[in-house]
Symmetry: C2
Subunit: 348 residues, 2 copies
C-alpha cells in the first residue's frame, strides 16, 4: 500500500541503507547510483515517514510553542501573531510547531504539555511571561529553550526581545519634540519586563530631552493587572484629575490606548487637538480607529520567525553560547498624536 524505503531500494537495485544515505545527503555515493535512486524515488513518489525517521533519529522535527493561558483572553492576539510567524518560518525548515499553554500557577508535577513528556518536540519556544517552574522543568529534560518577549534575569536563556526601550524612547521623544511637557505613562502590568522597559524608555526620553523636574511620578500609572482597554480607561481617568492635566498620553500598548481615548472623549477632550496619544504594538485596528492611532510598531511575526530560526539552529548545532536578539521597532505616526495647538504649547 504505502511505499517504503524498501520498495525504493528494490526498484533501484540497491540496499535500503544506500537509499537512506542519498536521502540524507551523505558523502561517498557514486553519482550514478545516486541518480538511479533519485529516479526510483521520484517514480514511486516516495516520502520517508516521519515517525519512522523520528524513531531512528530520536528527533521529532517538531518544535513546541508555549504561552501563558491568560494571554489568550487578552483583547489583541499579539502572541497569536508571534505564533504564526514562528509556525510559517518553521515550515520552511521542515519543522512543525505545536501549540500549548500553561497556567500561571502551573505545577510540573501535575500538568505538563504532553509533547514534553512524549518526546514529541526537539525544542520549545516560550512566549511572553511564563512561570519559572516550567523553564526549570524543560531545562532538566535537556530540551533547548528560546524565550520570546520575555526575559528572566536569573536564567541564562536564549531570547528574542523587543527593543522596548528604544521604541518608547522614540515615541516619547516625538511627543517632547512636539512641545509636550506633561506626558503621562498609562497603565500596564509592572510584572512584565517589556512593560518595565517601555517605562524606562519613557523616563530616559524625558530625562534626556525634557528637564529633569518634569519627571513626575504622578504622571505615571502602573498597575498590577494585565493591560487592557479597561485599565487604560481607568488609568486615564485618574491621570486626568491632575492639575494641570497631561497634554499627552503614552500608553503601554494599543489596547490600553483604546480605553485611554475613550476616557478622553468622555471628558470632552479631542484627540489630537487637545491631547496627543501614542500606543505601542501596532495592532490591526489601530489604523481604523478614529483618529487613527499613532503607535510603536512591533514586528510580531518577525519575533516568532526569529525565535523559530533560533531554536532550530540550536537543535541542529547544539549551540551552547547563549545569545539574545533584540528586534527593532518603528514609530508609526498617524493622527492621534498630531501637532499641538499653539494655545496648548504655552498653557503652562
Amino acid at each position: 500500500m504505502t511505499v517504503t524505503i524498501k520498495d525504493v531500494a528494490r526498484r533501484a537495485g540497491v540496499a535500503q541503507s544506500t537509499v537512506s544515505l542519498v536521502l540524507n545527503q551523505k558523502e561517498n555515493i557514486h553519482e550514478q547510483t545516486r541518480l538511479k535512486i533519485l529516479k526510483a524515488i521520484k517514480e514511486l513518489n516516495y516520502h520517508p515517514r516521519r515517525s519512522a525517521r523520528g524513531l531512528a533519529t530520536r528527533k521529532s522535527n517538531n518544535i513546541g510553542f508555549i504561552l501563558n493561558t491568560q494571554f489568550f483572553t487578552q483583547t489583541e492576539p499579539f502572541y497569536t501573531k508571534v505564533f504564526l510567524g514562528a509556525s510559517f518560518e518553521a515550515i520552511k525548515h521542515g519543522y512543525y510547531v505545536l501549540l500549548a499553554s500553561v497556567d500561571d500557577n502551573f505545577d510540573p508535577k501535575k500538568s505538563l504539555p504532553n509533547f514534553l513528556l512524549e518526546r514529541h518536540v526537539d525544542g520549545v519556544v516560550l512566549a511572553g511571561r511564563v512561570p519559572d517552574s516550567i523553564i526549570t522543568y524543560i531545562r532538566q529534560q535537556d530540551i533547548p529553550i528560546v524565550l520570546v518577549d520575555y526575559r528572566v534575569d536569573h536564567f541564562a536563556t536564549h531570547a528574542v526581545l523587543i527593543d522596548n526601550l528604544n521604541g518608547a524612547y522614540e515615541a516619547v521623544s516625538h511627543l517632547i519634540n512636539q512641545g509636550h511637557r506633561r506626558i503621562a505613562f498609562v497603565g500596564g502590568s509592572c510584572h512584565h519586563p517589556s512593560i518595565q522597559e517601555r517605562y524606562d524608555g519613557y523616563k530616559k526620553a524625558i530625562g534626556v530631552l525634557g528637564s529633569h523636574n518634569e519627571l513626575n511620578d504622578k504622571l505615571v500609572d502602573l498597575r498590577e493587572e494585565e493591560s487592557s482597554p479597561q485599565i487604560g480607561f481607568d488609568s486615564t481617568k485618574k491621570l486626568l484629575s491632575l492639575k494641570p492635566r497631561p497634554t499627552a498620553f503614552f500608553t503601554v500598548n494599543d489596547a490600553v490606548a483604546i480605553g485611554c481615548i475613550k476616557a478622553l472623549r468622555q471628558s470632552s477632550l479631542r484627540v489630537p487637538e487637545d491631547v496627543a496619544v501614542i500606543g505601542f504594538d501596532d495592532v490591526e485596528w489601530g489604523l481604523h480607529m478614529d483618529p487613527p492611532l499613532s503607535t510603536v510598531r512591533v514586528f510580531k511575526e518577525e519575533l516568532g520567525a526569529t525565535a523559530a530560526r533560533k531554536i532550530i539552529h540550536i537543535i541542529q548545532n547544539k549551540t551552547t553560547v547563549i545569545e539574545k536578539t533584540i528586534i527593532g521597532t518603528e514609530l508609526v505616526i498617524r493622527e492621534s498624536c498630531g501637532g499641538m495647538r499653539t494655545k496648548d504649547k504655552y498653557e503652562f
Copy 2:
C-alpha cells in the same frame, strides 16, 4: 537514559507486551499485574514515545489544519481563532494540530503541505475557501477531511458551518423592525459560500418582513475581491449615491463595516442617528469602535473546536456517514444600529 517500555517491564517483572496491553487498556489483564505495572510506570515516570507508537500504529496523533494563504493577509484573524479553537480542543483528546497554508492557485503535483506526504497527520481540517484540487488530492490519499466555514456542493464532505442565513436574517429583521425600508447589503466576495448565504438571509428577511418591491438590486453591492475595509468604504460610497439613500447598511462582515462607517462619516452622516450599521463576525475591536458596532456574532473558536472533535471522531471510528454541523450565531446589538429618529422614519 530515557526510560522505555522495556524498563517498565523489567521493573514490574513482566513482558513488555503486557505493559503495552495495560497501556492501551486492553482486556484480560489480571488486576494485580495491572496495578504492579501501573506502579512501575509511575515510579519510572514513563511515557511512551510518540514516534515509536506512531510507527507501530501508523497513526501520528496529529491533525492538519490548512487554510488559504490569502486569509492571513486579511484584517481580522478570523481563521486564526478557528485554528486556536481547534488546537486546544485537540489537545484535550491527545492530538496536536499542525498549521499549513495553500495558495489559491496551488498545484498538488508541485507543492503540498509536507505533513500530507510524510504521513504526519491522521486527518485534516480545511478552513475557509480552499482550492478543489487539494480536496481531491487529500481524498485520494484516504486521509479524512472536515471543512470549516466552507462547502463544496459537488463533494460530499463533512463540514462545520456557520448559520449565515439565519444570522443575516435576524440582523436584517432587526433593522426592518426598527422601521428601516432601504437597507443596503454591503460588499463581500460573491465567491465564498458564506457570503452568498448572508446575502440569502438578507433577501429572505426583506422578502418576508418587508414588501417585495423593496428588494432592490441597486441596494446590493457584491464584489469580486475579498472583503476588507477598503471594499466597505468604496461600496458604501457608491451606495450613498442612490436617491433616496439607504437608511441602513448591513455589511458582509465587520471589516467591511469599518470602511462603511468611515465612508458614512466622510459624508457627514452620523451613526446611528442618521444611518444604522450592522456587521457580521463580531471581531474584537467592534466593541471599541465609535460607536460600538452591532454585529452578528460567530463563535469562531467553537467552529474550530467542533471541527477538531469531528475529525478526531472520524479518525477513531472510521465513520463513513457524512454530516454537516451548523453552528448558530447571535445578534449582538450595540450602538451602531440604534433606533431611528422619527424624522427619518417618515422620510419616504
